[in-house]
C-alpha cells in the first residue's frame, strides 16, 4: 500500500515529464526543482497567512504555473530551435539555480509539512491501512483521471496530443504550437505542484526534495517515454518494486533495483512497457 502511494507520486512526476516531452520533445531536468519551489511557496503561504492547507495547495499550483510560464517564455522558448543537448543543459542549469535559490530563500533545512490525511492507522479487519497512503493514492488517481479527461475531452488536451503526434499537421489545424508549449510547461508544473504538496509531508520539505524527480524519469522510461498511461503504470511498478526490494532481495543489490530495472527495460524493450519505438525513416 505504501509502495503504491510512493508509486503514485512517481507516476505524477513521470506524467509531468511526459507532458512536456510530448509537446516539445525535450526533457525538463528542472521538473523536480520546480515542484520543490512551488511546494515551498505553498508552505510559505501556510506560515505567513495561516491559510488552510487547501489554499496552500492552490497557491503552490498557481506559483508553479507562473514559474513555468516565466521560464518557458524567457528561457526555453529562445532555445527551442537549438539542439536537444542544449535544451537539456539549460534545464540542468535551471535545476541547479532553482535548488540554490531555494536554499538562499528558505535555507537548505528540512521542514515538516502538514498532510491532508491523518497518521493514525485505520483497521479494516486484520489489515491496517494508513490514511496517508490511501489519501495520496486517491488524490493522485483523481488528478490522473482529471488529466486523462483533460487530454481526452478538451480542446487544449487534444491540441497537446495533436502536437505530440505531428507538429506540422497540428499547425495546419490552426493550433498554435507555441501556445501548446507554454500550456505544457504550465500544466506539467501544476501537476508537479500537486505531487509536491502530496509528498512533502512524507519526504519533508527541503531544497533537496526535487531529487524525487529522478524516480519520475525512471518511471517514465519504464512506461515508455511519451506514453501517459505508461507513466502511471511505470510509477506504480517502480514504487512497489522499491518498496518490496528491501524485503526480498539481498542487501547488496536492493538499492540498485530501480536502475537495473531501467537499464534492463531500455535494452530489452526500449519502448518501455507501453511505448512504441517509431520505425526508422529513410
Amino acid at each position: 500500500m505504501s509502495g503504491l502511494a510512493t508509486g503514485s507520486i512517481y507516476a505524477l512526476m513521470a506524467l509531468s515529464l511526459v507532458i512536456i516531452y510530448n509537446a516539445t520533445r525535450t526533457l525538463n531536468f528542472a521538473q523536480g526543482e520546480m515542484l520543490m519551489i512551488s511546494t515551498f511557496v505553498g508552505w510559505t503561504a501556510l506560515q505567513l497567512l495561516r491559510a488552510p492547507l487547501l489554499v496552500a495547495l492552490l497557491v503552490a499550483v498557481v506559483a508553479a504555473a507562473l514559474l513555468a510560464w516565466v521560464l518557458e517564455r524567457t528561457i526555453i522558448r529562445h532555445a527551442i530551435s537549438a539542439t536537444h543537448f542544449d535544451v537539456l543543459i539549460i534545464t540542468l542549469g535551471l535545476s541547479l539555480m532553482l535548488r540554490s535559490a531555494a536554499g538562499l530563500l528558505w535555507t537548505h533545512d528540512e521542514f515538516p509539512f502538514p498532510s491532508f490525511f491523518g497518521s493514525r492507522p485505520l483497521g479494516v479487519g486484520a489489515v491496517r491501512v494508513a490514511p496517508a497512503s490511501l489519501g495520496i493514492i486517491g488524490a493522485s488517481l483523481a488528478l490522473m483521471l482529471a488529466l486523462g479527461a483533460l487530454f481526452r475531452w478538451t480542446r487544449l488536451g487534444r491540441a497537446m496530443r495533436a502536437v505530440a503526434q505531428n507538429q506540422r499537421a497540428a499547425r495546419l489545424m490552426g493550433i498554435s504550437v507555441e501556445q501548446v508549449y507554454s500550456a505544457s510547461w504550465i500544466l506539467a508544473a501544476a501537476v508537479g505542484a500537486v505531487a509536491g504538496v502530496l509528498i512533502a509531508p512524507v519526504v519533508f520539505l527541503s531544497s533537496q526534495m526535487g531529487l524525487v524527480a529522478i524516480n519520475g524519469f525512471t518511471a517514465a522510461v519504464l512506461g515508455g517515454f511519451g506514453s501517459m498511461p505508461g507513466a502511471v503504470v511505470g510509477g506504480m511498478v517502480l514504487g512497489v518494486l522499491e518498496n518490496l526490494a528491501p524485503l526480498y532481495l539481498p542487501a547488496s543489490i536492493k538499492h540498485s533495483v530501480p536502475f537495473l530495472v531501467m537499464i534492463t527495460i531500455l535494452i530489452v524493450r526500449p519502448g518501455g512497457l507501453f511505448g512504441r519505438v517509431a520505425p526508422r525513416k529513410v
Binding site: 505504501s2 509502495g3 510512493t6 535548488r99 540554490s100 536554499g103 535555507t107 537548505h108 533545512d109 528540512e110 521542514f111 515538516p112 497518521s119 493514525r120 492507522p121 491496517r128 494508513a130 496517508a132 512524507v202 519526504v203 519533508f204 527541503s206 531544497s207 533537496q208 531529487l211 522499491e242 518498496n243 518490496l244 526490494a245 528491501p246 524485503l247 542487501a251 538499492h255
Partner: protein
C-alpha cells in the same frame, strides 16, 4: 609570438615569487583560518550552520571584543558539495593560495579523510572535523570535533545493556560510512555483554520510504531499535512505526541524530523516543554557555534559530580562540597545537570541563534523553566513554 609568450611567462614567474611569509595566515593584524564545507549538496544546511552561523558567530564576538592578542580572525570557506575531490582542491587552495593558518570544522567523512594526508604532510592543523569516523583519532595535526562513533556506541550499549538490562537489539542504519561505523561499533560493544544485533536494516541515503525496513524490523521483535540515520528518514521511520502500530520497542537515536529537527519532523510520533544527546538543548538549556550562545545569536543573526549545528560550530570557534589565546602573541601552527594539547579542565559552559589528551578528541561525552512533550528531557548526567 614565441617571444611574447615567453616574456609573459617570465612576468608570471616574477610575480609569483614575491610572496614571502612568516607563519602562514598570521599577520600583525589578522589570523586567517578556513575550511572546505558543504554549502550545496546533501549536507548544505549543516555546512552553513556550523560555519557561517557557528564558528563565525563566536569569532564575531571575539573580533568585536578586540580579537586574539590584537589580531582579528577572518574565515574563508569554500563549497565542496560533499565531493572529496572538491574538498581536496579547496583545501589545497586554502593552504597554498589563501595561506590559511588552520583548517576549521570540515564536514563529512569522505571529504575530511580525503584531505587528511595532505594536511599532515604540510603540517597544517585540521581543527574539529565534523564527522564521526575514528580515522581522525590521535593524529598530531588533527583535533577531532564530534564524538566518535565508537565512543557513542560504548555509551549507548553500556547504558542500555548495562544499566537498563535490555537484551534484544536491532538497528536501522544509513547505508554509508556513518551507518556502518556505528553498526560495527554496536556489534563489538554488544559482544562485551555476550549479545548480538538481532536484526539490521539499511536505508539508502536520500531515500525516504522506509516502510519495508520497519516491517522487517518489527517482525524481529527487538526490545531496542537503534536509528542510525539523518533527521528526514529517521522521522519517517518513527511515523511508519506509528502507522503500523508497533509500540513494544524502544527507539533510540544516535548522537548525530538526536536533534530538534528530527523531533519537529516526526511530531507526535517521536514521543517516548530515547537517545544519546551530544549537546545540551540549544533552545532551552539553562547552562550559562548555551544562554550566551543564544544571546549572541539574537544579536548577530536574529533570523537564525538556535540549533545543534551552529552550537557545534560556535563551540569550535570558542576552542580555537582559547588555544590561540594560550599560544600567545607568537602564534604558530606548532604553538597552537601545543596550546590545544595543554587544555585541561576547560570550562565552556556548554560541555563538561574539557581536557584534551593524546587522542586529540575534544568531545567524548553524551547524556541520555527521552522525548517528552516534544522536547528532549535528560535522563542521566554526562556519560563516560573511556
Amino acid at each position: 609570438m614565441i617571444t611574447r609568450s615567453i616574456l609573459l611567462f617570465l612576468l608570471v614567474v616574477a610575480l609569483s615569487v614575491s610572496r614571502a611569509a612568516a607563519e602562514p595566515g598570521v599577520s600583525d593584524t589578522e589570523i586567517v583560518i578556513g575550511g572546505s564545507n558543504s554549502f550545496s549538496g546533501p549536507l548544505a544546511y549543516t555546512g552553513e550552520q556550523i560555519t557561517k552561523f557557528g564558528v563565525d558567530l563566536y569569532l564575531r564576538v571575539v573580533n568585536d571584543a578586540g580579537g586574539i592578542h590584537g589580531r582579528k580572525v577572518r574565515t574563508i570557506y569554500y563549497d565542496d558539495g560533499y565531493r572529496p575531490q572538491d574538498s581536496v582542491a579547496n583545501t589545497k587552495k586554502l593552504v597554498e593560495q589563501d595561506g590559511v593558518f588552520a583548517i576549521i570544522i570540515p564536514q563529512g567523512s569522505p571529504p575530511v579523510v580525503a584531505t587528511l594526508e595532505y594536511l599532515e604532510e604540510h603540517k597544517v592543523p585540521m581543527l574539529f572535523p565534523y564527522q564521526s569516523s575514528p580515522v581522525t583519532r590521535a593524529r598530531r595535526y588533527v583535533f577531532q570535533g564530534m564524538t566518535l562513533s565508537d565512543r557513542s556506541s560504548r555509551m549507548m550499549i553500556d547504558y542500555l545493556a548495562g544499566t537498563r538490562k535490555y537484551k534484544k537489539f536491532a538497528a536501522l542504519y544509513q547505508d554509508d560510512e556513518y551507518g556502518k561505523s556505528f553498526l560495527a561499533a554496536f556489534e563489538k560493544d554488544l559482544g562485551r555483554f555476550g549479545l548480538k544485533l538481532t536484526a539490521a536494516e539499511s536505508v539508502k541515503r536520500g531515500v525516504t520510504d522506509v516502510s519495508a525496513q520497519i516491517a522487517k524490523l518489527h517482525a524481529a521483535r527487538p526490545e531496542v531499535t537503534f536509528l542510525v540515520l539523518v533527521p528526514g528518514p529517521a522521522a519517517q521511520a518513527l511515523r511508519e512505526r506509528q502507522k503500523i502500530g508497533w509500540t513494544d520497542t524502544l527507539m533510540v537515536s544516535t548522537g548525530p541524530l538526536t536533534d530538534e529537527k528530527y523531533l519537529a519532523l516526526a511530531t507526535d510520533a517521536a514521543n517516548g523516543v530515547e537517545g544519546l544527546s551530544l549537546w545540551p538543548d540549544p533552545a532551552t538549556s539553562d547552562l550559562p554557555g548555551v544562554k550566551l550562545y543564544r544571546a549572541y545569536m539574537v544579536k548577530y543573526f536574529p533570523k537564525n534559530e538556535p540549533n545543534r549545528y551552529s552550537l557545534a560550530g560556535y563551540f569550535a570557534g570558542m576552542l580555537f580562540t582559547e588555544a590561540a589565546m594560550r599560544a600567545g602573541r607568537n602564534l604558530t601552527r606548532e604553538s597552537l597545537i601545543t596550546a590545544l594539547e595543554s587544555i585541561k579542565g576547560f570550562e565552556s559552559g556548554i560541555l563538561p570541563p574539557l581536557t584534551i589528551g593524546r587522542d586529540h578528541e575534544t568531545q567524548k561525552q553524551g547524556f541520555w534523553v527521552r522525548v517528552e512533550k516534544g522536547r528532549f528531557t535528560p535522563l542521566t548526567d554526562w556519560l563516560k566513554s573511556e
